[in-house]
């Protein structure tokens, strides 16, 4: 498995501002994922971040709103830009450590926008 540290654990932000969430893994991994969990909903994949290439975004998510960096094999960031109350969610990063292996998750960032 992998140990994943995610920062911040929670934040309260003003409308129109941006927040960058960091995800650090204790081992090198090829694939990192960013999810959103809105209240009462399932985990929804935002994008897949592979080191050395542009992130791949799922339908409904765009790079201008959720820019992602993946500078090396142990670190990634997700920025939530120009936030509105609809962005209030838990944001989670996860990693896949190998084929036929489960994804492992960080503890998430609980984001509230006023």
């Amino acid at each position: 498995s992998a140990v994943i540290s995610q920062k911040p654990s929670r934040d309260i932000c003003q409308r129109g501002t941006s927040l960058t969430i960091q995800c650090q893994v204790d081992s090198q991994v090829t694939m990192m994922f960013w999810y959103r969990q809105q209240p009462g909903q399932s985990l929804t994949l935002i994008a897949t971040a592979n080191q050395g290439s542009e992130a791949t975004y799922e339908s409904g998510f765009v790079i201008d709103k959720f820019p992602i960096s993946r500078p090396n094999l142990t670190f990634s960031t997700l920025t939530v830009s120009n936030m509105s109350p609809e962005d209030s969610s838990i944001y989670l990063c996860s990693v896949e450590v190998g084929g036929n292996q489960p994804q492992h998750f960080g503890d998430g960032t609980r984001l509230s926008i006023l």
Binding site: I4, S42, G108, R110
Partner: protein, 110 residues
């Protein structure tokens, strides 16, 4: 379109009895199924998985059953313990992408 569904948002069970959590899916291309457990303020923690070529996988008190013809997955916990109280998510994989259900909140009553 929700490809993985957990139709029971909550479940209460007496300590020592069996907990059965259910999950239905729509896509026959899923090849790997998982259950995660989530405590408040923590990320989901992997619990148990099953490949699509099997119909049962057991790990201690946890057993996952897969019925491919019915596109149905279930998690059995026996005996249930108060520490099992959490939200349980089922997930299914296609390619590298995982699809999650909406979760079932299990309460084990001492």
């Amino acid at each position: 379109d929700q490809q993985v569904k957990q139709n029971s948002p909550s479940l209460s069970v007496q300590e020592g009895r069996i907990s059965i959590l259910n999950c239905d899916y729509t896509n026959s291309m899923f090849d790997y199924f998982l259950w995660y457990k989530k405590y408040p303020a923590e990320g989901p923690t992997f619990l148990i998985s099953i490949s699509s070529i099997k119909d049962k996988n057991e790990d201690g008190r946890f057993t996952v059953f897969l019925n491919k013809s019915a596109k149905h997955l279930s998690l059995h916990i026996v005996p249930s313990q108060p520490g099992d109280s959490a939200v349980y998510f089922c997930a299914a994989r296609m390619g590298f992408q995982f699809y999650f259900g909406t979760g079932t909140s299990l309460t084990v009553i001492p």
